[in-house]
Amino acid sequence: MSDNLTLPAQQGSTGTSTEPLLEVRGLTKHFPIYGGFPIKRKVGAVQAVDGVDLTVGVGESVGLVGESGCGKSTTGRLITRLLEPTAGTISYLGQDITHASRKQLAPVRSDIQMIFQDPYSSLNPRQTVGTIIKSPMEVNGIEPEGGREKKVRELLELVGLNPEHYNRFPHEFSGGQRQRIGVARALALNPKLIVADEPVSALDVSIQAQVVNLLQEVQQELGIAFLFIAHDLAIVRHFSQRVAVMYLGKVVEVGDRDAIYNRPRHPYTHALLSAVPEVAIDDETEAKERIRLYGDVPSPISPPSGCRFRTRCWKAQDKCASEEPPLLQISGNRDGHLTACHFPEDPTTEARAEDVILDPALKALEKDAADDTGAKPAKD
């Protein structure tokens, strides 16, 4: 970590085509770890988020994708100010809200809302649906035309629930319906930005598409900007205009939908894409690249030096260990497509000549087979 060159983030580098609504610069969150005996002291930190740059435009939907534990939720929680950032800045419509207190945040609060992952713990079991959706309006003293109850009924209808469910309790609803209630609550304040933290990953696959469609329609009809957090690229494919790929607390690649899905450069994006089943629907080629990542994400307590992906990267070289690749528009990238990699892949999702296999057991197996036929084994 100490020997790497950190280049300053380029101004407006993660820029969007529209006017920026939310700008995040160098956002960092370290959770301290206490230990030691007999006196407890700080012995380290979980570097959950470590210098994330992100911009969300007005009415734009941005996907934030990465493996489990790479800091997506933490980023979302920092942006909604549920967590206090360790470093970096968050500005909303040009106003710095990085360390704003609850009172200072009040005017902005209703603009930034959140949809949670777990539909079971995100609704208070002791409140009726009406109370749940009404609370944000009460807190912010919003008195909509025709009264709050009428507004709640409208919202219920908007998210595809029966307005008569007003007096029901959450335990009387299915997971999908609960998530709709969560969406209605987020919409109650007419927000400009909604952070959706894996809003469908707790739902049954058959219901996921419905909820994603609902969100998409809400996004398009009401012009709300979305930061949609997901752990695979398939879910955000149709939803997001731009996608940011995160790995171990950092954004490694960001670009518009076409750039990420059809012209990815970062090896990690390639690996994620190869895990997406229906990625090749646009081009007719049946055969896709196959990359099988093995092992877990390294510990965020002591991340690898240089490029954090190097422990699992098949293109890693010495430079990757010593120098941290900056997030740049590298040659071959279109406008707004940024990649943090020293040795990027070709901008294609065409089939590879050879499979990249990163599972050692699998590699050994296939190597034997390859040796038999005299072919060259897969590259490390």
Partner: protein, 347 residues
């Protein structure tokens, strides 16, 4: 407003939302009052035969002790008159020459339904009714007080966490480290002496206040710990975060989001705490630091009963049976309440 779910779908089309169809079918009847978790709990409780009977018995005890003056008016006795020594009652003796009750079962008769006390000849029925009144309502007061304290302290510690929680935890530990029974006995005279000149007679109400203070000071910790741990787990729930995102104040979050969710553990704890407080108060009187003569008190009846046990074992019978039934029913009631709140816990 248009309903976007019915609008065209851009992804895999789900024009006909099955969830939507299903829900609109269920909701034919217009009265759509959902049943709250509280109402569901009440329904489950009503189906529990033991719980209902025990609740009835417990309520019965509270009612009769509240009606003690009424009942003693019917029996025509009072807990203070010494029927064995008072010359007014010389024509209907209740005690023999040795000061023991005449008749069977400690002198049960039409006048004295539960018999009389040896030596003095006081009416046991009246003593028990008034004694129960003192004990039950003292216990109720103490329990409410220490529950309230425990809930407040637990809420603060659990919700704010960090340093606040640490110091509250240490204070709780400190109070927990007292050997309670010993301290009750040791502290009662101290507290009394603190407020009242030892040379003067301590008024009865003041003894009550002293008992209240001592039991309260040494009794709130269990509740505080229970509430704290419940709140700690609730605090991490996403609905609390949702409230924070909407800008709710900590006070509102505690009141609207967290408190309603700790009601059930509080209620369950209450049904366990009350009988144990009654026993503690009885113990104090038994040990001679609680109420003194002539205030009628349940615990004191046992102290007296122990004294008379050899000559007149029947004296212990009625207060003892009443106490056993009451405590048993109250504890069974506690179990039923817990089961009703948490159907998974089973038996």
């Amino acid at each position: 407003m248009t309903s976007p779910t019915k609008a065209e779908g851009s992804g895999p089309a789900v024009a006909l939302d099955p969830e939507l169809a299903a829900t609109s079918e269920v909701d034919k009847p217009k009265t759509l009052e959902g049943r709250s978790p509280g109402q569901l709990m009440w329904q489950r409780f009503r189906r529990d035969r033991t719980g209902m009977i025990c609740a009835g018995v417990v309520i019965f005890f509270f009612v009769i002790s509240l009606c003690a003056p009424l009942l003693t008016a019917i029996s025509g006795t009072n807990p203070y008159t010494l029927y064995g020594q008072d010359p007014t009652y010389a024509d209907s003796p209740v005690l023999d020459d040795f000061g023991l009750p005449l008749g069977y079962l400690g002198g049960v008769s039409g006048d004295h339904w539960f018999g009389v006390e040896p030596q003095y000849g006081r009416d046991l029925f009246a003593m028990l009714m008034y004694g129960m009144r003192t004990s039950l309502y003292m216990a109720l007061g103490v329990t409410v007080l220490l529950m309230a304290t425990g809930v407040i302290i637990g809420l603060i510690g659990g919700y704010f966490g960090g340093r606040t929680d640490y110091w509250i935890g240490r204070v709780t530990d400190f109070f927990l480290s007292f050997p309670q029974q010993l301290f009750f006995i040791a502290f009662m005279p101290v507290v009394t002496a603190f407020f009242v000149d030892p040379r003067e007679e301590t008024p009865t109400y003041f003894r009550a206040v002293a008992i209240l203070i001592v039991l309260w000071l040494l009794g709130w910790m269990g509740m505080a710990r229970l509430v704290r741990s419940t709140v700690l787990s609730l605090r991490e729930r996403e609905f609390v975060e949702a409230a924070k995102v909407s800008g709710a104040s900590p006070w509102r979050i505690v009141r609207k989001e967290i408190l309603p969710n700790v009601v059930s553990p509080i209620l369950v704890q209450f049904t366990y705490q009350l009988p144990s407080t009654i026993l503690t108060i009885a113990f104090l009187s038994f040990a001679g630091v609680g109420f003194v003569e002539p205030t009628p008190d349940w615990g004191k009846l046992f102290a007296a009963g122990a004294k008379y046990a050899e000559q007149d074992p029947a004296f212990m019978f009625f207060p003892g049976v009443a106490l056993v039934i009451f405590i048993l029913c109250f504890n069974l009631l506690g179990d039923s309440v817990r089961d009703a709140f948490d159907p998974k816990s089973g038996r």
